[in-house]
């Protein structure tokens, strides 16, 4: 790729001491908790943003908060960069390491510590997967609301790092709205607790800062999250339209009418074809755009909400309406949607953008996205959380063709600038990572970023935590 995104140059002082560092880390960790052999390091060289690979110096897999603290204290003492890693499902390169970095992986911190139904909380170690929480409480009638598509694999620690969303956050909010407290380790090994089972915490809202900080403010080792009683019933309904614009306008009118479904998901024709071929979800194949609208509650409530939604959809020329008739059908509808990225990956390489736009701008941004991609001779599939304006254009390309890859990156950059210029933002839930780092100045003025970086430095004055990410490499405050 011509404009490869740069990582910080590896520190020679760290690389030169590699063997000593590995030996010192081995002293700090139990047997089997340190990876340093070249072959063992390969799985950690990238994440779900596979365009970049760097083998790290070593990977620590601590089993306790105290071990995380010991490793961080050691690394900060020698200025060794640290890259936190959940399950490595980041779509923005948030977990991609660098040659002089020690990766701290959460995979061994995988216990659910406390489930408290009376207070509706769960306290879990940071390496517990998102889906594990919901599965652990499902039989008792509860769930954990944020549901990123990668929920089978992604960890709650990673979710906190990225402030992950998902399809159902239209009603229930994203991670930051469902997080009550964390135990975390600061860059120098200091362990702090923020929040508790109480709804409000004293002092500054540090929890709000930490959530979505992409591993730059510290490493979360435990989290207390809100549990929610499962709705009586839930029903996804498919609405097919003959144009993306009509579907987009329908979404804006549904929200504007005061009806808030649990989820409104959007797919255009390429996305429908890809997902249907993979999941056989029963999506209509004779439409240009599809909305999955999910309502929940009692039968009476779902009927009342659906009546309102159907009336709006008819005004926008809906051509197909299909209600799921059974739990199996409902599950298939969601399986198709949630496998969109995986299914796309079977037919082509892709990069997935994640800009969010104001709802009124959806039709315009969809149209312009199509034009940008067509001009560069590429294909795009759109599948996204329409209810909150969080777009996910999947730009298809061939990773082995450098020119194709460069065009895909160019298209992605143009689309993100389009989102910002339409009043939106670069990323709604995937995070900045390295992918969007150099676009930050399109959304923020230097003075805005300076304030963010200053706050970041209050947590990590040495800039050792995930240092190549989020903020442009130029113009950072001196360490």
């Amino acid at each position: 790729m011509p404009d490869k995104i740069a990582f910080l140059p590896p520190k020679k002082s760290v690389l030169d001491r590699r063997d000593i560092i590995v030996s010192d880390l081995a002293d700090l960790l139990p047997k089997g908790c340190l990876v340093s052999e070249p072959r063992g390091l390969v799985p950690f060289e990238t994440d779900a943003f596979i365009a970049y690979r760097n083998v790290p110096l070593a990977v620590a897999l601590p089993e306790t908060t105290a071990q995380v603290a010991a490793v961080l204290k050691y690394c900060s003492g020698y200025g060794i960069p640290v890259v936190p890693r959940g399950a490595g499902t980041s779509l923005s390169g948030g977990a991609i390491p660098q040659a002089d970095a020690v990766v701290i992986g959460l995979s061994k911190l995988s216990r659910i510590l406390d489930v408290d139904y009376a207070n509706r909380t769960a306290t879990v170690q940071a390496g517990v997967t998102n889906l594990n929480i919901s599965e652990a409480v499902s039989a008792d009638g509860y769930f954990y609301a944020p549901d990123p598509s990668s929920q089978l694999a992604c960890t709650i620690g990673g979710n906190i790092g990225m402030n992950s969303g998902g399809a159902h956050c239209l009603k229930y909010g994203v991670t930051t709205n469902n997080l009550l407290g964390v135990k975390m380790v600061l860059f120098d090994g200091t362990i702090i607790d923020l929040g508790s089972k109480a709804l409000d915490a004293p002092g500054l809202d540090l929890l709000g800062l930490v959530c979505g900080s992409e591993g730059q403010l510290g490493i979360v080792t435990e989290a207390t999250v809100r549990l929610i009683a499962k709705p009586e019933g839930a029903r996804p309904v498919l609405f097919g339209f003959q144009s993306s614009e009509a579907a987009g306008a329908c979404v804006a009118e549904i929200i504007g009418s005061g009806i808030i479904p649990v989820a409104i998901e959007f797919m255009d024709r390429p996305a429908i074809e890809i997902c249907e071929a993979f999941a056989h979800a029963g999506y209509p194949m004779d439409v240009e755009a599809l909305l999955i609208v999910e309502v929940e509650g009692s039968e009476a409530e779902m009927d009342a909400m659906l009546a309102g939604i159907i009336a709006i959809a008819r005004r926008h020329g809906v051509s197909t309406i299909k209600e799921s008739q059974s739990a199996t059908e409902a599950a298939l509808i969601w399986k198709g949607r949630k496998s969109a990225f995986g299914a796309t990956g079977r037919i082509a390489d892709y990069i997935c953008m994640d800009g969010t736009v104001p709802l009124s701008q959806l039709p315009y941004v969809l149209k312009k996205t199509g034009e940008i991609v067509a001009r560069l001779g590429l294909r795009v599939a759109n599948v996204f959380h329409a209810g909150d304006g969080n777009m996910h254009p999947l730009i298809l390309y061939n990773i082995n063709d450098p020119e194709d890859a460069a065009r895909a990156e160019e298209a992605g950059n143009e689309i993100l600038k389009l989102c910002v210029d339409a009043g939106g933002c670069l990323t709604g839930e995937h995070g900045v990572g390295i992918e969007k780092r150099d676009l930050m100045l399109h959304q923020f003025a230097p003075v805005d970023l300076d304030q963010q970086m200053a706050v970041r430095a209050a947590f990590d004055p040495q800039w050792i935590m995930n240092p190549s990410k989020v903020f442009p490499l130029e113009g950072r405050p001196a360490a």
Binding site: I192, D205, L209, S213, G258, T356, S360, G424
Partner: protein
């Protein structure tokens, strides 16, 4: 009298702050001045948002609004009511309790993270705040966040400004999300429960799929102060909101389930509206006194244990919101901060804020919960990054 600056623009505010920072002169930041009782701003210059007023944009179809920080809350609520929308977090109005006048501003609402009964389902003020513009302590004009619901672009500075009580920066503009006003609402009342029984009833109600949006317990000592004395006994109250057909069905389900706890009755939409406003604004303690009033946040199930423990030691009166996790606690005489905080810690943690007290008590009590050393040090470092000269520190107590 302190000098009061009332800039008419963000630029003018930035110039005032820049000048103050140059000489290290403290500035007390003020919205509507509704909390002046809890502040010690004697002798310091005041920077007021009073003339930074007006709704900048309102997009009902996108459920977002942008307003200048000094916009009166009443103006915003009036504009929202026209489109049948609302602030989901139900900002509370403490003027009757504090005995203050002044006009609450939207900036003040976010600066204090003022959140009412719906907080445990709809989030606090901070959860509705999408973006801010502010002037930091060096006089730089900065924006953070945006105007879309989902945004993880960079550090979430809007969150840390929410609830920072004017200690970090002078917020000039806020963008926040809205929700539609529910079509109707009803309240299930369970009569005659003691605090422990009420806690169990509320936990059961919230484990059900009926979407309770308010859960409070009003013990015998306060129930006469609600609905003009119409509640017959200690009342455990549960609010249901939504489409009318759905509210009727859910209310019936809940009523049936709560019958095992005590006598159950129901309030209509109008009584529901009045009752939850009175709960929100701490009506029982709008008593014209300066007896110490605490706002305590703990895990919902331990709220009643905390009150029981305090009763053995001192004279207290209390009622509960947020399923028991928010306690409004009025002391008979002394603030008893040490005792209160000792019991909160012993019961698993939480925090207490002294909302009201006589000047002598305020001056000698830690109004805000003290933080552990490591967190306090971190907060101090963050504060220095917003306000290097420490000019916003003065008078920030309540």
């Amino acid at each position: 009298m302190s000098e009061v600056h009332q800039p008419v623009s963000e630029d003018a505010a930035a110039r005032i702050i820049h000048t103050a920072a140059a000489v290290g002169a403290p500035l007390v930041l003020r919205g509507g001045g509704t909390r002046s009782l809890a502040r010690n701003d004697e002798g310091h210059e005041i920077l007021s948002s009073a003339r930074l007023s007006g709704i900048v944009s309102y997009n009902p179809a996108e459920m977002t609004m942008t307003a200048k920080s000094g916009t009166p809350l009443a103006d915003i609520l009036a504009a929202l009511a026209e489109k049948r929308q609302m602030l989901a977090f139900e900002p509370l109005d403490l003027r009757p309790v504090l005995g203050t006048t002044g006009n609450p501003t939207i900036g003040g609402v976010f600066a204090t993270n003022a959140s009412g009964p719906r907080r445990f389902v709809a989030g606090a003020a901070r959860d509705s705040l999408l973006g801010v513009r502010f002037v930091n302590g060096s006089g730089d004009i900065i924006k953070a966040g945006g105007r879309v619901m989902k945004n993880v672009t960079g550090l979430d500075l809007a969150k840390v400004l929410a609830g920072s009580r004017g200690s970090l920066a002078f917020v000039t503009e806020v963008t926040f999300r809205l929700l539609p006003v529910p079509e109707t609402a009803a309240t299930i009342v369970i009569s005659g429960l003691n605090d422990a029984e009420a806690t169990a009833a509320m936990a059961t109600a919230l484990s059900m799929s009926v979407e309770v949006s308010g859960a409070a317990h009003l013990p015998e000592t306060v129930r006469g102060r609600f609905l003009g004395g119409d509640l017959p006994a200690a009342a455990t109250v549960l609010r249901i909101e939504g489409l009318s057909a759905s509210v009727a069905v859910r209310a019936e389900t809940l009523r049936a389930a709560m019958a095992s706890f005590g006598a159950v009755s129901m309030l209509d939409a109008d009584a529901t509206d009045r009752l939850w406003r009175e709960i929100r604004d701490v009506h029982p303690y709008a008593d014209g006194t300066l007896r110490p009033l605490w706002r305590v946040s703990v895990a919902p199930t331990v709220g009643h244990q905390l009150v029981a423990a305090l009763r053995l030691e001192t004279g207290v009166d209390a009622f509960y919101d947020w399923q028991g996790g928010l306690i409004w606690l009025r002391m008979e005489a002394e603030a008893e901060a040490g005792l209160l905080r000792h019991f909160i810690k012993a019961l698993g943690g939480g925090h207490a804020t002294l909302v009201r007290a006589a000047p002598g008590i305020l001056a000698t009590t830690l109004v805000l919960e003290p933080q552990p050393d490591a967190v306090a040090a971190l907060e101090a470092r963050i504060k220095a990054k917003f306000d290097p000269k420490g000019i916003f520190s003065a008078g920030v107590t309540g």
